[in-house]
Symmetry: C2
Subunit: 348 residues, 2 copies
């Protein structure tokens, strides 16, 4: 099959690799219809995360159709239209039962093979999906392919970022970074009742989209967001900050923005090697810091009705629609924010 493969730093190939095979009785093979490049794929691309085997199929955002099922798979059939979270989960373990499906004891991330172990990704014509009956969800009525694709990662991730911020109607929020995670965090926060969300970025196009989604745009190259947030909160700062960039500067800004007793929420891997605040700085602000991988599988069920409702135009973040064969170009556009790129989808 054709796939976009990891070939070292800043090198993704479109090439032929072996078709995936059913390995366990609970596996399913999905023929990918649509996949996407995620911000966290860039951690692999830039080799911020090291160790992935060359020729691994990239990506963990995909949807498609079941084309083969393991012998124990009963609830899924060939021909089913399915969407997938970015990692597998069993539905039975301590973490799955608690709704923390991203820490399932059988969790495997799509698009990560190291020393021959792991799962190939969804930027390929076919994907093997383990524990498929629990991992995959049949796409329900009224959800199109692009919505199904975004339901697997970016929509729940934004929602989770907001839920960590413990949204209340009368509080003031800041979102740092208006890339896909930040934009989805804005929608997630609104959905959870937020009325005042300051969206911080330096790219006007992203800020415009944040404003369309209901946030108050703050261009940090023109206005000092710390001063502004102080101004609108009687000198306190934001009740919670959703940090959707994941680097040292964003971490420091989050600390400056948050009020004493406030929350900093993160949902992405940071490139920063150490925390942006010391224990004493955190103590001095009575800080709550929450970070982690979104329990996408758990939240997908919860968010299906919202996507079906059509209330938010989630797919408007997709700026580039390319065929899988042009995925190498897709990575270049996305990684280098060319042409106001926010989100690239790839069709098979």
């Amino acid at each position: 099959m054709k796939a976009l493969t990891f070939r070292g730093r800043h090198k993704v190939n479109y090439e032929t690799i072996p078709d995936p095979q059913i390995k366990a009785l609970t596996d399913v093979i999905v023929k990918v219809k649509l996949c996407a490049i995620c911000g966290s794929d860039l951690h692999v691309y830039h080799e911020h995360e090291k160790g992935m085997d060359h020729a691994t199929a990239m990506g963990h955002e995909f949807m498609g159709e079941v084309v083969e099922t393991g012998k124990e798979v009963k609830k899924l059939k060939v021909g089913d239209r399915v969407m997938s979270p970015f990692s597998t989960s069993c539905g039975q373990c301590f973490y799955c039962k608690k709704g923390l499906t991203s820490r399932c004891v059988f969790s495997q991330l799509f698009g990560w093979v190291e020393n021959g172990r792991g799962l190939h990704g969804g930027q390929a014509e076919y994907v093997r999906v383990p524990i498929a009956e629990n991992t995959l969800i049949k796409v329900p009525e009224g959800i199109n392919d692009e919505q199904a694709l975004l339901l697997g990662d970016i929509i729940p991730t934004g929602y989770f970022c907001a839920s960590q911020a413990q949204i209340k109607a009368d509080e003031v929020y800041a979102v740092i970074g208006c890339g896909p995670v930040g934009l989805m965090a804005i929608l997630g926060a609104i959905e959870q009742g937020a009325e005042k969300i300051y969206a911080i970025d330096t790219i006007e196009e992203r800020l415009s989209m944040a404003a369309r989604f209901g946030a108050i745009p703050v261009n940090a190259s023109k206005i000092n967001p710390v001063g502004l947030l102080r101004e609108v909160t009687e000198n306190r700062g934001a009740d919670a900050v959703m940090e959707a960039v994941g680097n040292s500067a964003a971490g420091k800004l989050a600390y400056q923005l948050v009020r004493p007793g406030g929350i900093i929420s993160m949902v992405g891997v940071s490139t920063d090697e150490s925390m942006a605040f010391s224990p004493t700085e955190a103590y001095n602000k009575n800080l709550t810091f929450k970070v982690g991988r979104c329990p996408a599988r758990y939240l997908m069920n919860k968010l299906i009705p919202l996507v079906q409702s059509g209330k938010h135009d989630f797919t408007s973040i997709i700026t580039h629609r390319l065929p899988l064969s042009e995925g190498v170009k897709g990575y270049d556009i996305f990684a280098n924010k060319k042409d106001n790129c926010l989100k690239v989808t790839l069709a098979c």
Copy 2:
């Protein structure tokens, strides 16, 4: 008056300093009956926190009797027996109304004067208490002097440490360090419904007291607490860890002990310059980290009935009862953990 004064690193004097005077209409002067040395006084003593003026009266744990009131003070009278949290609070601001009295916008810590500004402490014959009507509480019936003293800091601080850990009856907790904060955190956790608390220390006497308070003692010099906590949680780790030591080793141990999706709670100033985990490590555990100064004033009201009930023997942590005049010796005993010292009180 006589006071224990800061005179530089590891140097506390018992000497005569000027009597405090009413400075504001809302001030009160308290004649101290009983005061105590707190673990955080040692940050000053060891000069982990630098900048305090020489000749500042030390300490922030005290109780006593009102001997003079500012002209606007109506609710307190000369002769009232009062207890005090470690810092002042107004009761009116955003933070006070939220119950985060430790971040009151008018908050001042007792026992910290820097460049002539701040408040002298309670290890003295007299203390000036600003915003006294809100800061002080009349000691109610059934609470003795030692209980009133501990209600001002260590009892609510332990309770707060446990409340940050979001105690549930069926979860497994670890407390790192069985000094006064750790021991009070054990009682706080039990009061909030915890049934399984593993108390980690290396000093047998402290572990015995932890066991008497209802925890399961773990001597870390004999047993690996990480292995033990894994064993009793199907290899997960503690649902929440209360870190009551505040150094690098304790921070790292807390990270190792906590399960994915768990909470690390801290209530003290740490001597560690950077956080014990990186953003990626925190992400990999879906960590919640909560730290801050206990809202003692807010919690004191809540905890009065518990202390009155006599359910827990809070004052059993007091190992040394000395006169204020022997406070220099008290610091030496406490700072160097001589004679199994846990808590030193000083009587005027």
